[in-house]
């Protein structure tokens, strides 16, 4: 596989990838922080309504989301509004969209020729591009976490900050596995936009699969196919529990996807 650790450890392609995405990182961080302020901040004004809704079993329409019964509490509200939909789905789509373009755009714009004329292996390109996307994920992830902490203190609600940290921590393997799927699609489809749309469709489908599985036990098998099934923000946020099995599955998926991407990319003709 032409793996040269000396070269990879210099991280030049990874650093360039980070630099290329620093603007996107800032914009996305601001966007997600803004959303966090909005969702967490609006809880006090919704609180009474939520309690009423809870009594009238109106929450049942959210039954496809784990932890829906708890929506009238701050933790439950954050779980539904912020983590289950906005975080898992929307950030998942955005991260997948970006990851799917990472190889495809080099090939589509033909810059891969000048890149690969240097002493870099194909394996190195995949690994470094993957590494290069991690800082973006971490910055968005943990900045949002701090913003939620700030808002929580501001509105005087109760929240276990350690559990909040765990929630953000276990979202890292979840998003990494989405990045790895994006990268695999990026090596399979050499058109940036098509690769991104396919990856988006995969993330959305997995969300739908998991929702169906939550609604009906007949379709539980569908949930197993979804990455979201292995990422349980409600458990972490409410009880401080980490699903060790789920997290291991996410890490394993990430490794397998990267391995397949590397294998495929190494065997493919780079036709521009």
């Amino acid at each position: 596989m032409n793996l040269n650790f000396k070269q990879i450890l210099r991280f030049q392609i990874a650093i360039q990838t980070m630099k290329d995405y620093w603007k996107s990182t800032i914009i996305l961080t601001l966007l997600f922080c803004g959303m966090a302020v909005m969702y967490a901040g609006m809880f006090p004004s919704f609180k009474d309504m939520m309690v009423e809704m809870g009594q009238s079993s109106a929450f049942d329409s959210f039954a496809f989301i784990p932890g829906y019964e708890d929506m009238a509490t701050y933790v439950g509200f954050l779980n539904i509004e912020m983590y289950q939909i906005f975080w898992t789905l929307i950030l998942g789509i955005v991260i997948g969209f970006i990851a799917a373009s990472i190889i495809a755009k080099e090939i589509e714009s033909k810059t891969i020729d000048v890149l690969m004329s240097n002493p870099v292996s194909r394996t190195q390109i995949i690994i470094e591009k993957f590494i290069g996307l991690i800082p973006m994920l971490l910055i968005i992830n943990f900045t949002t976490m701090f913003v939620i902490m700030g808002v929580t203190i501001g509105i005087g609600e109760e929240l276990n900050f350690f559990n909040l940290f765990l929630t953000h921590l276990i979202s890292v393997p979840y998003f990494l596995s989405i990045i790895s799927i994006g990268i695999l699609i990026s090596t399979l489809i050499y058109e940036k936009m098509r690769a991104s749309i396919v990856t988006m469709a995969i993330v959305v489908s997995m969300f739908i699969f998991d929702s169906i599985a939550e609604l009906s036990s007949d379709f539980e098998f569908l949930g197993n196919l979804s990455l979201k099934h292995y990422f349980k923000p409600y458990k972490a946020l409410k009880f401080g529990e980490i699903d060790g099995f789920g997290t291991s599955v996410l890490i394993l998926v990430c490794c397998i996807m990267l391995f397949v991407s590397i294998w495929y990319f190494n065997h493919k003709d780079i036709t521009v």
Partner: protein
Amino acid sequence: MKPEIILKTVKCPQCNNIIEIKGSPGKKSILTCSKCGVKGSFTFPKSDDKQSKKTHMSDYNVIEVKNLTKKYKDVVAVNNISFNVKKGEIFGFLGPNGAGKTTTIRTLLGFLKPNNGEAYIFGKNIKENIVEIRKNVGYIPGELALYEHLTGRQFLQFFSNIRNTDLSLLNDLFEIFELPLDRKIKGYSKGMKQKIGIVQAFMDDPEMVIMDEPTSGLDPLLQQKFYEFLKKEKQKGRTMFFSSHILSEVDRICDRVAIIRNGKIVALENIETLKKKTGKKIRLRIKEDTTDIISLPQASLIDGWIEISVQNNIDEWIKRMGKYTILDLEIQEFNLEDYFMRYYASEGGA
């Protein structure tokens, strides 16, 4: 991974007899001079030893291509080609568009996987050692695509970081190819992009540079500068692989030339031989009847113009035409099509 074999020439300290030896890097071998019988030992330099590259013998093949075939689905783009490029030469790779030049180059650089055959660069198999090989190869792609969101400086910095070597040629290059380094590449003209492509390929003084139609996009003045630069680089001993579809260009700067057509190498010639085969084309229209002239083997009638291929005897032909009333006259260099028409007409259309 196959062990790398280095070919070295050593001089006997006693009688100055030159002996050729082969061995793998780091290996110590005991030698006996065939002339005077003196014994000695020689340790082959490690492959990353820059010095070893400079001391390779001059007829050492930098590129060796053996029966290379590359197909795209059912289309054979490169068909069983073989050639060698010697150290220190400018090797021309001449062919019309679509002949397989770019496919050959991209296969040599490891972007495409050959269907058959093999190739070695610096004695290393491209299948196994391509990353190692690329450390000492510069490349100017045919369809040069750059990171347009970077400035020229950032672009060069990125590749210098990847290559992790001294940019010993950078200042010389900037003197010849001036560039607005702090402007984004997006705003560069085609010529500027080509210039930064050239700088990028040569900046860390690689042992060989592969160029895929490097002069396209350069204005005539810059082309001239570029040719002069290549000649200077050749004097320094750099090997250069130069692909082109322009006969006169190859004829002017290369030492040897391979001519590729429909995926096959149809000729591999010294430039002197090629020069003998090329010539000028006289095109003229005359008032009188053309029958006499076009009956000559060198002449033909195309769209009312008489075309005559001439080699060294241009004076003779001009004098011969003196008896006609000339309505119009043009003298052109042979282009690749003329060359094919003349020498390879039997092998299908140009």
